[in-house]
Every structure is written in C-alpha cells, then in structure tokens.
Amino acid sequence: MRIANPHLLLRRLHSLFGLLPVGAFLVFHLWENSQSRFGAAHYNGEVVAVLQRLNYLPVLEIVVIALPLLFHAGYGLVILSQMRAEPRRYRYLRNWLYVMQRVSGIGILLFLILHVGMTRIESIWRVTVREDLFGHMQHLLTQPWIFTVYVVGLLLSVLHLANGMATLGIVWGLTTSAYAQRLFGSVCALFGLLLVAIGIHGLLGFLS
C-alpha cells in the first residue's frame, strides 16, 4: 500500500499525539498529583505505589508516554521553524495564541527535561525518590525557584494543551464556523482553567 499523503498524516499524527496520549496523560498526571492534598502516606502508599506495581510499567511509560511525547516535541520543532510571527503588528488573540503555542512548546520542553530528570530519571538510581516521592517533591517545591519553575511549567503545559485542543478542532474539521471556533475555544479555555486549578492544588498539596 502506498501512503498517498505522508505530509498530512504526519501533521495529523502530531496533532493527535498532542491530545492522545500526551494531553490525556497530562490530565491524568495533574489529577494524580492533586492527591498530594491527602498527605504523604496516602500519596506514597495509595497513588504512587499502585502505579509502580503495574506490570511492564517501563514499557508503558516508553510506548505510551515518552515516544509520542518525543515525536510531538520533535515534529513540533520542525513546525516551529516555519514561524515568522509578528505579534506586535497583528494584535489579535488568535495570533497571540499562535505565538504562545510555539513559545510554550519550547518552554515545556525545557521544563520537562528538568522535571523528568529530577523525578523519574533520578528515581532510577535513587531509591528514596521511588519510596518517598512525596518527601522528594516537598523537598524540591519548598525551594522558591523550583516552585516558580513548576508553576510556569504547569501554566505553559495547560495553555499548550487547551489551545492545542481548540486548534485541533479546526484542523480536524470539528469546528468550521467562526461561531463554533469561538465557542469551542471558550470551552477549551474553561477546561484549561480547571486544569490549572487542579495543578496548583496539587503543587500546594506537597507543601502542606
């Protein structure tokens, strides 16, 4: 079989991976970490441990999260190279979001290197991170600069996902009319606010 238009399929795959599984994982991840609110024992014992007990967890992590994420990020950089944005000339919300989608992509990439490195990667050789993730996170987040970086990382990620969903609606042809695009954009914005609330809730949970 011949793939008629690999270009479109690559773009659509990039768009799809942003939502599934990467976006979905973000939602899950924020929900998961909002459990920090219920204390170290609950978080370490009921939330993290359950996940860690899963069979073939590294395979899942690599196939379902890391590879799609890497593809999304790598192809995102290709797309980014096409940008010649003029946010000051065209001060429209959508143009601003267009720029922010690309800027946030870079920001998220940098944040993830830090975040994944400080948690999942570090846990490979440091058993304490694995066994008391709550304590590890509490230690990290009590440092103001790391807390700030996490808040920024959270905001960028949610913005990227919410705006990505809004444009995904246009790209896949879910929303066509200006009205539908505006309406769905507002829904995505509300969804993003909800995610931010959950995320902040989770971050604050580690400090209690």
Binding site: I3, A4, N5, H7, L8, L9, R11, R12, I79, Q82, M83, R84, A85, E86, R89, Y90, Y92, R94, N95, Y98, V99, Q101, T167, I170, V171, W172, G173, L174, T175, T176, S177, A178, A180, Q181
Partner: protein
Amino acid sequence: MSTINLRIRRQDNPDSQPYWQAFSIPAAADHNVVSVLLALRDNPVTTSGERVAPVIWDHNCMEEVCGSCAMLINGVPRPACSALIDSLIQPIRLEPMPKFPVVRDLLVDRSCMDASLRRVKAWIEIDGAWDTGLGAPRIAPVAWSANYLYSRCMSCGVCLSACPQFGSHSDFIGAAPLAQVRLMNAHPTGRYDKTERLHAIMGAGGLSDCGNAQNCVRVCPKGIPLTTAIGELGRQTTLQALQDLFGESTPSL
C-alpha cells in the same frame, strides 16, 4: 493639517537595498493613498527638495475590486485605494507588501498565487466553452450565499502577507488558494474533482501547514471567511485521509 506627509520605502530593483524617502503634498478633501501617489507623480520631489523618480506601485480599478493596489500602510497590509487619508496617522508609512518579492518600490511579485491556484486545480472541469443546452443546476440560496463569499477573492495577497506561516521560508500556499478549493468542492460539478483537489492540499505546503493564527480573516479586505474554509477543508481532508487509508465508502457522487 495643511499637508499630507508620507514616508515611502523605496527599492530600485529586486537585488538592491531599500531606502526611505519622505514626501508631502498639499492636503485636500477625499484623498486616499492611491490618489496621493497619483498626485506625487505630477511633481516627484522629496521634502528635502530632491527630484526623484516617481514611486512605482500597482493600481487599476480603484474600487477595491481588482486587487492590484495592496500594500503595507502604516504597518498594515490593505488595498491602498480604500485607505482614506483622513483615517490614517501621519506621516503615513508606505511599504511593499511583505512576504512577496519586491520588484520595485511598492510593486511586488504575486505570481506565486497564480501558481498555487494551478496547483490546487481551482477550476471546474468543463467539456468546452460552448452551450450544451442544459439549464443551470439548482443551488440552494443558502449554499449560494456561502459560495458567493469565496468567489469574491481578488488575489490581492493581503491574507498571505499577514500569515506567519507564509513566505520565502516556507512552501505554504496560504489562505486564498485554500478558500478556492472550498469553493470549487462545493460546486455541483466541481465536486467531481474534489478528491484530486484535496490530495493537492494534503501534501507539503498544503492545508496542514496552516498554524491557525487567523490573521488572514482579520485583514481580508473583502471579509471572506477564510478560517471557516480552512475548518471545512479540515473536515474534508480528515474524511479523505480515512478513505485513502481504509478504502472508499460507496461513492456518494
């Protein structure tokens, strides 16, 4: 104000460096940017008294229907004929429309738009330019109204010049030719070649290179709903890609 003051970005040929010149002409009622440039030709002298070659720019109908005179006016791409002087902050800055190669002064080369229209096959296949004796196909008034919006595109290039994805750095064809695909695919016989047109915009530089900045629809002088066309084509290409991958459903034509 008793004079109209302009700053014009000039460029002698495609390979030379641009430079700025200032001009001023006596103010008068109902001037627009084209009429000011016309007046300048009568006596092309800069404010510093230097006699220079008249400014080169494109213009023809001056009713905003031929699409010739688009340029960057105070930083915004728009047709010059409908840019009334009274509505502009002075000194008025005139520059060639960005993203297109400059030919001379404010004149740019927009032939890439023509090539894009060829690429997406923006036409209805007919047997020949003769009467077949058959009456016109029925088109619902509501469908007509939607189509008519797109059929007014005059290839002025304003949407492309405002597009962050379009330019010499990319092969993106931009909103104007995409909207024509939307138009042709909606025609009762134009839809016979829908698949071919969709395949043409599913390749590199096609629909999926749109970044949804949506500047196009904000600057279009004719108010063409370009982003709606892009959404509709998104839907059409989604279905087309599924058909390509999983096979046709019963032909619906």
